[in-house]
Structure formats: structure tokens, C-alpha cells
């Protein structure tokens, strides 16, 4: 028997038995495996479409690697790599329509890419030139939430609004396994069920919340919680882009038809650090990481496409070239960003004039001017 609280917590099993077999349509070797009823949801995803998804996966990984390099070179203050989570993000985001709305955390840069966010606009936050990069209304995606889990409520509220407006658009909340402990995520599920809101709770269970394994957050599969709120849930192999797309299509279809929310647990793995400031060697078992490396989300699609004749060396080379071009554009958009003029920090605190902020801006402007040549 463990003698202390900490021992009892550390001796917990690393992985719980799944409540059912996670949906998988492409196994790690690239073999197509059936899983009713989800096969029907991607029956139309042909070789070309799968190749297009593969290109997305390659590009978002290339961009992610480039951003990590930019951080190491001092061009970015911080970067949260999504390495390993490409399929979960691309497979879900590619299901959405332009009039749907995404509320994400800071790691969903592949989702942002799929929503059409300009490459350079992904970097302002991490370079420190602005607190956000894009206009949410232009791409149907809120700027990332840094406070863990807060955005689940916003997605639920937006979805209720869409329903009030009589639209069939949906809202999606992206968050991680750590966030599922937050009150806001749980409250969002209570409210979503209460209002039968067209919202998808998309949890990327990447097994880690910085250094804390998912077993600190959950003693049972996270997806098991949702039915207690009255929300159907599904577990999916988050490294299988086809399976993710299938479960997302089903959830979105149900939401559009008035069926209310769905909770999706995409089981994946954070192959990199939490952020570039983190050192996973202090807590990750290298064998565990190696095991997950064998379930790589890109390798299985590539193997499947090559087997089916949907990808040859020439196409692979052209995809790699496009990824390099995107990375070059990404880099240029980063290094070309200049620091904002000081007084712009006073912009947009309020939508309407504010005597306090307006006065402080004026006074600080005069203060700065007093140091200019010719003054004093």
C-alpha cells in the first residue's frame, strides 16, 4: 500500500482502459481498417482529397519546425509546438465551413492554418508585437486563449447565439487534457447540454499538461465524463487524420441538425516540449515517446497513399517544396515585423473615448517628446 498521498498519486496506472476502441480508420502502418459507422462519413475522401490532407499535414509540421527554429534564433520569444498533433487539428478543422467559428488554445496553429489565417499573423503573439494576430471575423476563429479552458465557455455562448440567430453554423472549442479539469470546461458542458447548443468540444488528449501526465487530471477516459453531462462522446485516434475527419463530420452534422453538442477526445501525443521554454527530459520517459513516434500522423497517410498509388516521389517532392516555400514566407513575415510605436499600446483599451486612458496617453506622449532633440 502506498504510504503517502504523493505515493498513491504516483502509483496510479499510466493509462486507463478505454471505454471502447478509439475510432481508427488508418492504422499506424497505413492500412485502412473499417470502423462502422464512421467509414460512411469519409466514403467520399478519395486519393486526391487524402493527398490534399497529407499536404496540409506536411506544411503545418514544416511551419511548426520553422517557428521552433525562429525561437531558437531569438526571433520569437516563445513557441508552443504542435508536433505530433497535426492530424487531430487538420482532420477536424478541414470539416468546418467558413461561417463556423473556432475558439482555441494557443497550440492550434494547424487549425489556424486551415481557417486561412495568414502565416505572418500567427507569429505576432509569439514575437511580442501584438496580443493577437488576426481579425477573428475574417477567418471564423477567435484569437487563441492562453488561460486554460476559458474558451470552452465562449464557444458554447457563440453556439447559443448561432442558434438564437436561426443559423446552422457550429462553434468548436479546442482544448487539451489539462483543461478538462477546469471549471470553465465543465460549466461549458452543463450549459451546452442545457441549451442544446451546436458546439463541438474537441479535446486533444496529448497526454501531458506541461509536466503533468493525464492521469493527474483523469482516472477514467476523459470522454467518459461527457455522457454524465448529457453529451454524447467519442474517442478517436488523434493521429489518424481520416478517423478524426469522420468523427468530426458526424459531430458537426448532428450539431447542424439541432442534435446539440458532442465531445470528441482525440488521443494523441505531444512529441515536443510544452513550449520552447520547457524541458521534457525532466519528466518524459524516452521509451514512451519512442512508442508514440511509431504512431506518427504523417507516416501512416504517406504509407497509405503510396500503397494506393496516390503519392509518388514527384508529388512528394512538390509537396515538400510547397512546405519549404511556406516556411520561407513564415520566416520572412516574422523577421520583417517591426516593433510597434510606443503610443499604440494605448490603442483599443476601450471602444469609446475614455478620459483616463486618453489623458495618460497624452501625458506619456509629451514625456517622450521632452527627450527629443531640441527640447530641453
Amino acid at each position: 500500500m502506498p504510504s503517502s498521498l504523493s505515493e498513491s498519486r504516483e502509483s496510479q496506472p499510466r493509462a486507463s482502459a478505454p471505454h471502447d476502441r478509439p475510432v481508427q480508420l488508418l492504422d499506424p502502418s497505413g492500412r485502412r481498417v473499417p470502423h462502422a459507422p464512421y467509414d460512411d462519413y469519409v466514403a467520399d475522401v478519395s486519393g486526391d482529397q487524402l493527398a490534399s490532407l497529407y499536404e496540409d499535414l506536411v506544411i503545418v509540421r514544416r511551419l511548426d519546425v520553422e517557428a521552433t527554429a525562429l525561437q531558437r534564433q531569438g526571433e520569437l520569444g516563445l513557441w508552443p509546438p504542435l508536433l505530433g498533433q497535426e492530424a487531430a487539428q487538420v482532420g477536424s478543422a478541414r470539416v468546418l465551413r467558413p461561417d463556423d467559428f473556432v475558439f482555441s488554445s494557443y497550440r492550434e496553429n494547424a487549425v489556424a492554418y486551415c481557417r486561412g489565417v495568414k502565416l505572418t499573423e500567427m507569429l505576432n503573439v509569439w514575437r511580442g508585437t501584438a496580443l493577437s494576430g488576426w481579425n477573428p471575423y475574417e477567418v471564423g476563429m477567435a484569437t487563441p486563449a492562453i488561460v486554460i479552458g476559458t474558451q470552452a465557455l465562449h464557444a458554447m455562448g457563440y453556439a447559443v447565439g448561432a442558434k438564437l440567430d436561426g443559423e446552422d453554423s457550429v462553434a468548436v472549442a479546442y482544448f487539451g487534457d489539462g483543461a478538462t479539469t477546469q471549471g470553465d470546461v465543465n460549466e461549458a458542458m452543463v450549459f451546452a447540454a442545457s441549451f442544446r447548443a451546436p458546439v463541438i468540444f474537441f479535446c486533444q488528449n496529448n497526454q501531458w499538461a506541461i509536466s503533468e501526465p493525464v492521469t493527474l487530471q483523469a482516472q477514467r477516459p476523459i470522454a467518459d465524463r461527457a455522457p454524465g453531462f448529457g453529451i454524447p462522446s467519442v474517442r478517436v485516434d488523434g493521429n489518424d487524420v481520416l478517423a478524426v475527419m469522420a468523427v468530426m463530420r458526424r459531430a458537426v452534422e448532428q450539431a447542424r441538425e439541432g442534435g446539440g453538442p458532442t465531445f470528441i477526445e482525440a488521443i494523441t501525443y505531444r512529441m515536443g516540449p510544452h513550449t520552447t521554454s520547457d524541458d521534457p527530459s525532466r519528466y518524459v520517459d524516452p521509451l514512451e515517446r519512442e512508442e508514440w513516434a511509431g504512431r506518427d500522423p504523417l507516416a501512416r497517410v504517406e504509407a497509405h497513399l503510396r500503397e494506393a498509388g496516390g503519392l509518388d516521389d514527384a508529388l512528394a517532392a512538390s509537396i515538400a517544396r510547397r512546405a519549404d516555400e511556406a516556411a520561407a514566407e513564415f520566416r520572412a513575415g516574422c523577421t520583417e515585423q517591426v516593433d510597434p510605436p510606443p503610443l499604440t499600446m494605448f490603442d483599443h483599451v476601450y471602444a469609446e473615448p475614455h478620459r483616463g486612458v486618453d489623458e495618460q496617453r497624452r501625458q506619456f506622449g509629451e514625456y517622450l517628446e521632452s527627450f527629443e532633440e531640441g527640447v530641453n
Partner: protein, 345 residues
Amino acid sequence: MAEMTLAKALNASLRRSLAHDDRVLIMGEDIGTLGGVFRVTDGLKAEFGGDRVMDMPLAESGILGMAVGLAFKGFRPVVEIQFDGFIYPAFDQIVTQVAKLHYRTRGNVRMPITIRVPFGGGIGAVEHHSESPEAYFAHTAGLRVVTCSTPQDAHTLLQQAIWCDDPVLFFEPKRRYWTKGEVDEDALDRDDVLPMGSARVVVPGSDVTLVTYGPLVATAIDAAAAAAAGSGGGDADTVSIEVIDLRSLAPVDVDTVVASVAKTGRLVIAHEAQRTGGIGADLAAELTDRCFYHLEAAPQRVTGFDIPYPASRHEEHFLPDLDRILDAVDRTMGRRPALYAGAVL
């Protein structure tokens, strides 16, 4: 013009706002079928339906987070927090999201959310039902903080708060809910209506400026009347107090207070909230800065003590009353010794 209670004026104001703009939604606990525990939303659900006046599951953070999502979608949510002491679960959403989203998104996303909070003590309530948390929100950039003290202001200011494109904390003096007054329901259509951010000179005077807001405005008016009457010692015994109702706590209409203090040379600030880090501390610093050479005495604060809101049988001693206000007035007039006379060696 019609005579109505402050609570009824708020109700009429909400009704007008709902009728004026179908993007306005009312959200809160028990605000629909029941009409709110103070009946401020009475009848609104019946009139506008459950899609406009929505009873919420019991989670304040959830309610505010939902309001954020609705604001993203272009709605104008008006949230009721049932009691002051219940706002803290929503503090995170208010401070990290509601206050900052417009700034974070560089003006692309607006948060025209009004958060109504019955506040203050004096009703003999149990714990968490008598607090004055306004300073937390006044300290938070991105929020506006407004209070009302009369039925007319309740009616006018709440509509102004709802039309404002910034988030507004709207603090309602719960012990004055049943105060009656004349209300011109078309006041907003008049040219002379003051903007939401303006303070109001309630009682003109020349010796001491007494600044307060919300529930203590009525107390301040009584204090001014008592001081004007004196204690029977003739004219030399009377004090002419100018009472200012701040109305807006963030931003504060400093100019109106400066104009008054420049005239009187004396400043007393009263609020129910605890003293440290309060609205009065900040105002005393601002006025000392701006009116230093006009001041005849150190600004005085009359506030709740720096203790948790006490049990109701203690509250008459905790809450600033007429005597404590006049005591501070007398100290600025040199009629009683300064609190800290001789403290500096």
C-alpha cells in the same frame, strides 16, 4: 414623469432596452420566471420570451463566459449577478476576457456586456450579501464601472451602460431599491442629459466637498442638511457641504471634483467599501495632485473598515453614517483634531 422605486426604474430601463434593440439579452439566475430575487427583471420574460430573458444554470463564470461568446456573435448581453459576494466565480472571465478582448483583438471584437450587481449593506443580510467589490473592477483596465443612487439615474445610466460598446459593471445600491423618485422615462432624448461618465453635483455648497456614490448619496444629502442647520450655535456653527455623486467610478469625472475642491478647499470621500486600495484612496491622491495649493486640510476618507463585512448586528457600526461623515467634515474644518495630528515626529 412618473413616480417609481429605484428597482422599478431599473425594470423600466431594461424593458426599454429590450424593446429598442433585439440584440439585447438578459441573463442571470432566477431572473426569468421569478423576475429576480429583487424583482428587477419582473415581467420581462413574459413580455419578451425565454430567448431574450434567459434563466441560467448556476455558475457565474459560465454565465459570463457565455456572455463573451454571445458578444462575439454580435449580441449585447445584460448579466445579473444575484448578489455582490457571488461575483467572484466570474472574476476570471470578467478580468481576463471581458475586460481584455477588445484590446487583445485590436478593436476587432467588441464586448458590450453590462454586468448588473446589487451591492452594499444595510439590509441585515447574511455573509456575502452586503459587499462592495467595486474597486476590484475599477482597478481593471478595459472595464467601466458605474453606480446609481436615484430612480432617475438608475433608469438613464443603465440604458447608457447597455448602449455602451465597452463592458460596464453596473452597481445597484440594494438598500435603496425601494427608494421612490420621479422618473422621466424619456430623459435620454433630452439634450441636457449627462454622459454616463459624468459626476453630478447633488447639493451645492461652499465649505467642504463631500464625494460619494451609490447607497451613501442619500446619507450624504442628510449630512449636508444637518450641517447646514448647524447645532444651534448660529451661523458660525453651520457648514456648507457640496455633495457630489460620482456615478462613474471608472473613469472618475475628476474635473467635476477638482472644480468643487478648488472652490471649497476641503475634501471628504465616503464609501461603504473597505478603505485600503479603495475608490477614496485613489481620489484623494488625484485631488491632492491636482488641487494641492487649494487644499486647506488633508482629504478625509469615511469608509468601511479593513475587515471582512461583519455580521449584520455589527453593520450599523461598519457602515459610514451621518455622524461619521460629519465627524470627518468637522476635522477638515479644524473643529475636531486631525486623526493623525502629531503622528509625524
